[in-house]
Amino acid sequence: MNMRANAHRLVALAAVALLVASACGGGEDGNNGSNNDNSSTSNNTTSTNVTTPNSTTPNNSNPSGFDFRTEEPGDYVRVDAVGQPYVSRLFVPGSSKNGYNDQIPDTEAYDDAIVQRLSAWHAAVDDELINFALPPCSMDDTDADGLPDCLGQNISDDGAEPVTPAQLLRPDSLKILDAGADAGYPNGRTLADPVADILLGIVLIDQSGRVPPDIIVGVLNPPANDANDGDFSNEFPYLNDPF
C-alpha cells in the first residue's frame, strides 16, 4: 500500500474523522450424556440449514468425547456481531452500538445516524484535506441518486464494476465483490489489509479524480501488523504464533 508523507498532520485529520464516526457491535454425538437446558429469553440468531445433533446420535464423530452444548442455534441470545470492518467503530454512536450490533447485517434503521456521523467527520476534517490537496467528497446529493455524494461515489478502478461506499456499508457485511479477482479490501478482507485507513479514504475523499483508496494508509494508523514484519502465512491457519 502507498504511504503518504506528513503523517502526523494528516493523521490528525483522519483521526478526527474516525473520532466523529466512532462515537457516534454431547450433547451431540458423544456428549457423554450431558444434557443442557434450552433456556433463553429471546432469539437473535437464526438457523436456516443446520442440524443440531442430539444425545442419541452415535459417537462416531466425537471420539474424544468433547462435551458440547446441544441447544439449537436459535436458542442462543446474540451478544456481538460484525460485518463490514470498522463501520460500528467509525460511524455508530456508543449509545446505539448494542442496537446496531443486534441488527447486523440489516442496519437500515441506522442509515441516518451513519450519515450524521459522516457529516460530522467532514465538518472536522475537510479543511485539512484541502490543505493537503486531497479533495473532500461532498455530503450533498448533487446527482440526485438519493445518496450523499460521498456514499454514492464509485470507488472501483476504471473499467471495473462500479462499487460505492453505500454498497459496502449496507447491509453491514463483509463483501466478496468478485471471488475470481485478487482478494484485498474492499473485495473481501485479508489479514494484512489496512481497512480503517482505506475506509476513511473512501468516504472522506472525492474519488472522481481517481485518488487511490489507500491514499491515507499509514497516516492515521499503523500500515501493517506488528508481528513477522507485517506478513502472514500463506498456509492454513495463516495467523502468526502467539507471543
Partner: protein, 217 residues
C-alpha cells in the same frame, strides 16, 4: 438500497461527536459496550474473509487484545456460539449459517464443533489448536498473536479533544501506534471449498455473530 437523507449539521450532531474514551474501544474488540469487554469469549475482534483459488478462507478473532502470559491458551467458553453467515444470492438472508462451539472432555482437552459447514453431512468435530479436515475443507481454533493493527488510544484521546465537533479538528492525538502490538487473541479459521460456500456465485456477503446460551440445570 433505499434512500439516505442528508443530515444538516446541528446540535444533535455536535452532541453525537462527544465520546468517552471507553466507547472508542468499542466496535469490535470490546464492543458492544456493557455487554463484552476485552478478553471476553463473546467479544468478536475482527472478521476476515477472502477467496483464493477454489477456497473461501474465513477468520474470526475473539477474546482478543490480551497480554501474553505463560502457558496461555485460547479462550474457550462452552456457553458461547460463534456464527459465520454467508449470503451468496444477495437476498439479504444467509444461505449458510455456520456455527462453532467449544467443549471440554474429561481429560480437560478442548474441542470444537462446527455445524453447517458447507458441504458437510453433519457436524465436524476436532481438537482445538489443530488443523482439522472435513467436508473438503479445514477448520481450526486456537491462540494467536492479534492480527489487528490500529491506533485505538489515539482515536480515544482525539475523540475527547474534539468532542464539541463544531469545526476543524485541533490537537489530533493519532501517532500511528499499534494498540494491538504484542497482544494475543483466539481465532476460528475455516477454509471452505468455494463451490460449496458460494454455490457458483462470484459474490457474497459475510458476517459473524456471537451468542450466549442460557444456564445449565
Amino acid at each position: 438500497m433505499g434512500t439516505w437523507s442528508k443530515i444538516t449539521l446541528g446540535a444533535a450532531v455536535i452532541a453525537a461527536m462527544s465520546v468517552s474514551v471507553d466507547s472508542v474501544r468499542a466496535a469490535d474488540h470490546d464492543d458492544p459496550p456493557a455487554r463484552v469487554e476485552f478478553g471476553d469469549a463473546a467479544d468478536i475482534g475482527e472478521l476476515y474473509a477472502w477467496t483464493s483459488g477454489d477456497t473461501l478462507s474465513v477468520v474470526v478473532t475473539f477474546a482478543g487484545g490480551v497480554e501474553p502470559a505463560p502457558n496461555q491458551t485460547g479462550t474457550w467458553n462452552r456457553d458461547v456460539l460463534y456464527g459465520i453467515h454467508i449470503d451468496h444470492d444477495g437476498d439479504g438472508t444467509a444461505d449458510h449459517d455456520i456455527y462453532v462451539r467449544f467443549g471440554e472432555n474429561p481429560e480437560a482437552q478442548w474441542g470444537m464443533q462446527v455445524l453447517g459447514f458447507p458441504g458437510a453431512d453433519g457436524p465436524l468435530v476436532g481438537p482445538v489448536q489443530t488443523a482439522n479436515e472435513g467436508a473438503g475443507g479445514l477448520f481450526w481454533a486456537g491462540l494467536h498473536e492479534d492480527p489487528s493493527f490500529f491506533d485505538l488510544n489515539g482515536l480515544a484521546v482525539t475523540l475527547n479533544r474534539i468532542g464539541d465537533g463544531d469545526g476543524p479538528a485541533e490537537d489530533i492525538a493519532f501517532t500511528g501506534a499499534d494498540y494491538f502490538a504484542g497482544l494475543n487473541t483466539t481465532a476460528i479459521v475455516l477454509d471452505i471449498p468455494l463451490d460449496a460456500a458460494l454455490s457458483g456465485s462470484s459474490t457474497a456477503s459475510i458476517w459473524a455473530t456471537t451468542a450466549a446460551a442460557g444456564d445449565d440445570t
